[in-house]
């Protein structure tokens, strides 16, 4: 069973219905480490040594965050800058993250329709996530399509419950080493038939 590290970053988690539903559902699962960055580093002073150690102990890295201005919240960017060190994560001698799996789990206020060339936001979510994809690649990790909960403003509690269940199932799939090929085909991991709520 693969070990999963969820790097969760949300500057106002206490006000987020969607993220509360998601986190609540998976935080106690076996083999899952929930690492709440804003709780751990309220002063943005990241303990790089400890973070590297944490990465060493896990096989799947999930960047779980709301999409703010088409990117991640600032502390997660800080984490990327500080932890993914030259000659450790990347660079001629940097291979610490080699062959680990990496993906984004995001929540967006805007609906899926807004994120396309005709929509308000002009680009798709996957396009906006390019920097993360490339970051993972440069560190030698396999990057999966995102799991996205979109249009959160209009979701009711039952919808959120569904998403939470899907997230939970996704975690199981990732732990059970589902073939990556199967995963890579999707635009969103939400679309995987295996996640369909019965």
């Amino acid at each position: 069973m693969k070990k999963i590290l969820i790097l969760f970053s949300h500057p106002k988690f206490e006000k987020s219905r969607a993220n509360s539903a998601l986190i609540e559902r998976i935080k106690d699962k076996e083999g899952v480490t929930l690492h709440d960055l804003y709780e751990r580093y309220p002063d943005f002073h990241i303990d790089v040594t400890a973070e590297k150690e944490l990465l060493n102990q896990h096989d799947v890295i999930i960047w779980h965050h709301p999409l703010y201005w088409y990117s991640c919240p600032p502390l997660m960017k800080q984490w990327i800058d500080m932890v993914l060190e030259f000659n450790w994560a990347y660079g001629p001698e940097g291979n610490a993250l080699q062959d680990k799996t990496c993906l984004n789990v995001i929540t967006t206020g805007g609906s899926k329709e807004m994120y396309c060339s005709e929509g308000v936001n002009s680009f798709s979510v996957n396009q906006f996530l390019r920097p993360f994809e490339q970051t993972a690649k440069l560190c030698g990790m396999k990057y999966l399509p995102p799991f996205a909960v979109m249009g959160t403003h209009r979701l009711n509690d039952e919808d959120l419950e569904d998403y939470a269940n899907q997230y939970s199932k996704l975690i199981v799939l990732l732990q059970d080493e589902i073939s990556l090929k199967e995963l890579k085909l999707a635009t969103f991991l939400n679309d995987l038939p295996k996640l369909k709520t019965s």
Partner: protein, 629 residues
């Protein structure tokens, strides 16, 4: 006789060390320890010191002299003026009321009016030495009670001057001097007619004031110029002894002269220097004074008429207590502050010794009358701490912890109770911040006026000594999640920590400390959450210094975070590494050694060097040093 002097010194010192340690261990004030030591080594128990008791008392009076000199130093005429209302008001009511009532009492007992008047003067005074010592020890100087006590005591110290000036006027004959305990001193006054005596007293007071301004200060300036530190110590002693001598020469109380001298010098630039020089001597000499009081309790006089003495003693204490209580009431003190005031000042003071002997020397008092009053004075002093304990342990708890109105709290506060001990500058900031988040801490504080104000503001406040288990329990420690010690008194925090760990181990402790050493002690008691009050502030200042020198703020900010983490780690390491003994002599040396060690470590560790984030130069160099493929 040097051998015997040495032996006596040993007896005194050993007695003090043993008894005061025991008293402190039992949580009593040091005054009780000293008094007890005095009784033990005195002529009636172990008999180590016999008839020299009087000489010792005379020598020990230097403790009182120094204390009054230091009190005088504290009082700048300006402050004095600001406090005039409470000094004259409270002091006047207290002295006037007590004198009146005790005059009536002693007249009824069948004493001659002159005798009754002198005794009532003596009775009206309280013991500055005992009261101030106790107030300082308990850290109550800044409470309303502390200020009130100070005012009353100050008024008494001043009024004594007039009393001493007035007593000769009562004299029946031209006083036959030198039966006073200060036998072989030349006493100018005795050879003068009465009116002139009073004049001489006033003159000598004026002389001190003038000499202080035009003689002592210029002398100190010259001494300071030499830069020889021990000369200044010598000067401090010379001032105190000189004034004492002058006062005795004209037959006045040296303590008063010293007090005046202190006031005169309180505006000079040497104020703090003199204070720090005399402070340690003062405490030891005061201890000696208390021991001498203990040793001078004449058990034979007591044995001869135990009932009379006991009766008068109790009557006087009750009488003084009533007047003090009424005084407090007139000045609108809270009930508990009134009680503290009542019980702290209900004894007869050390000036009574002076007044009584003085009056005896002038043939106003008979030998028996004087002996009896001296015994009563000493006994009343000895009773003070005991009465204080009764008040603290049995009376105050009953009135202090009034159940305050429970206010509706939001769910966070309701499910997770917070207790905040101490609401001074530090604690109140914590309290305000918590409250702005809807978290209502239950506050414990020992200043009842503050407590009252906080209750008006709608806080749930308990008044009293937070080291008492029953108070903690009534504040709801059993259901508390966290108890915050925001007091800067390490002893209080340590006691609370011990109680909580023993009885309520589920409650989390969060403790403010003044410095590293207090932090070590608390860490070694098994506490985790220690907050050194100066760490963040000093680094914030250092950060701004570096910024002004051209360092980038963000980088320095991160280094400060690193430094704090590293300093916290080393704090924990050192706390377990060795038991720090707070021995004053080694303290400074240890401190320096430790600072040196830290600085070395900081340097070796190179806090700044290893920080390569966002450092393009570092990456370029690393890439360039790669071997060509």
């Amino acid at each position: 006789m040097t051998g015997s002097i040495l032996f006596e010194a040993i007896v005194f010192l050993a007695g003090a060390i043993i008894c005061v340690s025991i008293a402190k261990q039992l949580g009593l004030s040091s005054v009780i320890g000293y008094l007890l030591a005095g009784v033990l080594i005195g002529p009636y128990v172990l008999g180590f010191i016999g008839n020299e008791g009087d000489d010792i008392l005379h020598f020990a009076e230097f403790g009182v002299v120094m204390m009054l000199f230091l009190i005088g130093l504290e009082i700048e005429p300006k402050n004095f003026w600001n406090m005039r209302k409470s000094i004259v008001g409270m002091g006047g009511i207290q002295v006037g009321g007590t004198m009146l009532l005790s005059f009536i009492l002693f007249t009824l007992l069948g004493l001659e009016w002159k005798v009754a008047l002198v005794i009532s003067m003596a009775v009206a005074l309280s013991s500055t030495a005992i009261a101030m010592q106790t107030i300082k020890e308990k850290g109550l100087m800044n409470t309303t009670f502390g200020a009130s006590s100070f005012s009353i005591l100050l008024f008494q110290d001043i009024i004594v001057i007039f009393m001493l000036g007035f007593i000769p006027l009562l004299s029946n004959t031209d006083g036959n001097a030198s039966t006073v305990d200060k036998g072989d001193h030349t006493n100018l006054l005795n050879n003068l007619p009465m009116g002139l005596q009073t004049l001489a007293i006033i003159l000598s007071v004026v002389l001190i004031i003038v000499a202080g301004k035009y003689l002592i200060v210029p002398m100190l300036r010259k001494v300071a110029k030499t830069g020889v530190r021990e000369l200044l110590i010598a000067s401090a002693f010379l001032i105190v002894f000189g004034i004492s001598f002058l006062m005795e020469f004209v037959g006045l109380s040296p303590a008063l002269g010293a007090f005046l001298g202190g006031v005169v010098l309180s505006n000079s630039e040497f104020k703090h220097e003199l204070e720090s020089t005399l402070e340690p001597f003062k405490n030891l000499l005061l201890g000696l004074f208390f021991m001498a009081v203990g040793a001078s309790i004449n058990f034979i006089v007591i044995a001869n008429s135990p009932l009379t003495i006991g009766g008068i003693l109790i009557a006087i204490i009750v009488l003084k207590a009533v007047v003090l209580f009424i005084t407090g009431h007139i000045f609108k003190l809270k009930l508990d502050q009134k009680l503290l005031l009542t019980f702290s000042l209900a004894q007869i003071g050390e000036f009574a010794f002076v007044l009584l002997s003085f009056a005896f020397g002038l043939n106003i008092l008979s030998q028996e009358e004087m002996d009896m009053m001296l015994v009563i004075t000493a006994l009343s002093m000895s009773l003070t701490p005991i009465v204080g304990i009764i008040n603290e342990r049995f009376i105050l708890p009953k009135i202090g912890t009034k159940e305050s109105v429970k206010r509706p709290m939001d769910h966070i506060a309701k499910s997770q109770k917070i207790i905040l001990v101490g609401f001074g500058h530090f604690g109140s900031t914590i309290g305000r911040f918590l409250r702005s988040h809807g978290v209502e801490a239950t506050i414990l504080d020992h200043d009842s006026n503050r407590v009252d104000f906080l209750r008006k503001m709608g806080f749930e406040v308990y008044y009293g000594d937070a080291t008492r288990l029953d108070l903690l329990e009534s504040a709801g420690i059993a259901d508390a999640k966290i108890i915050i010690c925001a007091t800067n008194k390490i002893e209080v925090s340590k006691t609370i920590s011990k109680i909580v760990k023993e009885k309520y181990p589920h409650v989390e402790l969060m403790i403010r400390t003044k410095n590293r050493y207090d932090a070590y002690e608390l860490l070694n008691l098994g506490n985790e959450n220690i907050y050194r009050e100066s760490l963040e502030t000093s680094l914030t200042l250092a950060k701004d210094v570096l910024s002004k020198m051209g360092f980038r703020k963000y980088t320095i900010n991160r280094q400060v975070r690193n430094f704090i983490k590293y300093d916290e780690d080393s704090l924990r390491r050192l706390a377990s590494e060795r038991k720090y003994d707070d021995n004053y002599i080694f303290k400074a040396k240890k401190e320096l050694e430790q600072q040196e060690k830290f600085l070395n470590e900081d340097f070796k560790r190179g806090i700044v060097e290893y920080d390569n984030h966002w450092d393009s130069e570092y990456i370029r160099n690393a890439l360039n040093s790669m071997p060509e493929e």
